[in-house]
Amino acid sequence: MMFLEDDFEVCLSRQQEEATTMNHPVPDELISAYFDGEVSPDERGEVERLLESSSELRQQLDETSKLSALLHSFPRESAPRELAANVQKQVNAATQPALAIAQATTRRSLRREWTAFGAGILATIASLLMFVSFNQSQFTTNSPMSLSRAAGSQPQVTLQPKSASEQALAGTDPKFANPNIATDPSDLSDHLQPNLGLSKASNLARSKREDLASPTERSGKLNERESLAQNPVPMVANADLAETSSNSIQPQIQNEFLSYLANGDVIVSKVADPTNTVAVVYFTVVDIERGSNELKVLLQKRSLQEVEVSDEASLVKVSDAEDRSASQQPLSKRNDLNKKRDASRADEFHVFFARAPGDQLADTIDDLVKNHPDIFRNWTPQPPIELPVASLPSTEGIVAENQAIVADDNKFQDIARRQISDESTAVNTEAEMAVSVLMARNGSVNANGNFSYNGNSNVQLSVSNSIIGNTSNLEQKTEFGALSSASVASNSTGTSRGNNVNGNNAQSSGNSGQGYFRVSRQNQPHATPQQAVPALNKGIPLVASSTMNSNGGGLVDLGGGFGRNANNDVRNPRLVRMLFVLKSAQSTTNSAP
């Protein structure tokens, strides 16, 4: 009897289950969609209710799950390396005008029209503000930085270019000259690929785009030109306005830059080729001394090699001299001296050179900005500096040597000790060259169209080095031919010539074991290219052959695909050179007319 009751219950249960399924037919595809999470809430409720009572449905779901697991057991297929390279070649071969035309004819969505309209309005407002502010104060500065700013702002403010090469330079330099200079978003986007800088070709493309721009955009540009036509003198955009207009894209550029740094394989093609280039980052700091200290602490905490370059020494020297004489001057003279000293301090800048793994540099930047927002107001990646490959002692030679002795354990220790010394020399040499090019980049184009240092300031470097983390402390005196060739675009082929001008005195200034390059920027008589002297006492020619802008605005071709790692340094394949340039926020503001 008991058996019959149990049997009856089982039969009843099965009948109920079947009845449920029949009364609520669930399409099989609903189970599939349920598995994918692609059902409505109502459908989900129904499927789940039926799954509780139907073993058949549960089995169906289980098989779907197993099948999915089976399909996911495939390893992810990675694209062959040549895919990106092949695309790169074909894209480079594609004609940009077609793209521009496509842009002009097809990008007509309402959102973009509004964007264009907004950009036109912004440009108009910016030009009007510049016009007004310029009339209020005369543009007077002898600082090469300021002059460079003025030159750099030319393409945007559409001043009359003096020469083709100057125009090219002007298109390249503004990001270095002042990271806060107002530029349109597409211009600011140049930081996205600092390795490229701005090529002449891309400038041409931009001018073509302007020609093809929508009526709204064109009207904005016309207003800008009309406004500026009345002021045929160099001008600098208001920094605050610049920050406002660039706010939308700046974080993206910064994130992208840090991402490149962190991904060592990508940095090679996107930020800097570690074999011969130096990434440059500009920081606008409220307090330059505190900013420098924080940066130094961070670099030292990470045991990163660094060399500091600053103009602190000269400023102190100037100030001391003025202080001594000030007491003998009448009050009005003293006030003038104080103003002059303040202006000098405003021009103060500190440069740190570091050679370290890209991810650590990225972390350093990230830490600086996030942990010290009160000091670091803004930062902007700049077009990198390209060093003359043949003059670099740090990569091929050492690598070849390492490769030769790597199997010989007995020689390894000796070589390693020697390498520390080599490292010190290499870092300092690279720092010297990088700073030289950096300073030269602040110059202007001479009458011959060649890039040369402006010469209104003299640069004196005194060198004593100590490499953080190394036991050897290398002392050296360097006559720093301040201003070398700049590998900034001075012609369309990407080969730029530069002249070493303005030989400088060097003096050793060991400072409690901590070495500095000290850059003084006293006003000196204008130097001419004919005064050129060898840049470094090591006989390193600083006539760089630049490829910074050599690819005509196309994808960077460093001989490989997008992600090719061209770093030859077997010790650390992700080693990146970088200049941290700390510029006073006060100077940025003061520089604006």
């Binding site: 990106a84 496509a102 097809t106 986007s189 994130n255 992600g563």
Partner: protein, 192 residues
Amino acid sequence: MNQTSDQTLIDHCLAGRREAFGLLVERYQNRLFHSLVHLLGSTEDAQDAAQEAFVNAFEKLGSFRGQSQFYSWLFRIAYNTAVSSKRKLRRMSVSLEARRDASGLEPSDGNPTSEPSYAMDVSDRQRLVQQALSELGEEFRMALVLKEMDGMSYEEIADIVKVPLGTVRSRIHRARLELREKLSVLLRSEVL
């Protein structure tokens, strides 16, 4: 760390910065290639299709209106490229020798049940699955590959294939049914 959005990169491209397109290539080449391999059944065909798709996308970038995801748009181009090239989107009922050439995989007799499941290693299972996939009808294979291999939503698939959402659901279900039938022995084995 936030990535630069696709739209920003596209805007840079349209502004003349071709290198921004390089970022898009880097961003999507693996995903696209992976899906195309399983769709076309051959790494060589997948590479060709992906390459053509990227170049075509660059040339047509001005026509991208941002109404769909860039990748969806890119995949659509790749799909059309493959179709226009008459690649093996049709049912791949080809000879065993041709299968070996196309996929680089060893051919089998087409009947998974004849395979000794106990001896199956990973590559064997992959071969069987790839073969079963290749025998699905084009529309079913595409829907399933986009869902399973690419992780797309039904809506994204519908956008690419230009069919209603319900059709996508139906195709994926049918593809699964057919695959489950073809791979029944494998699915019931202890290997999984």
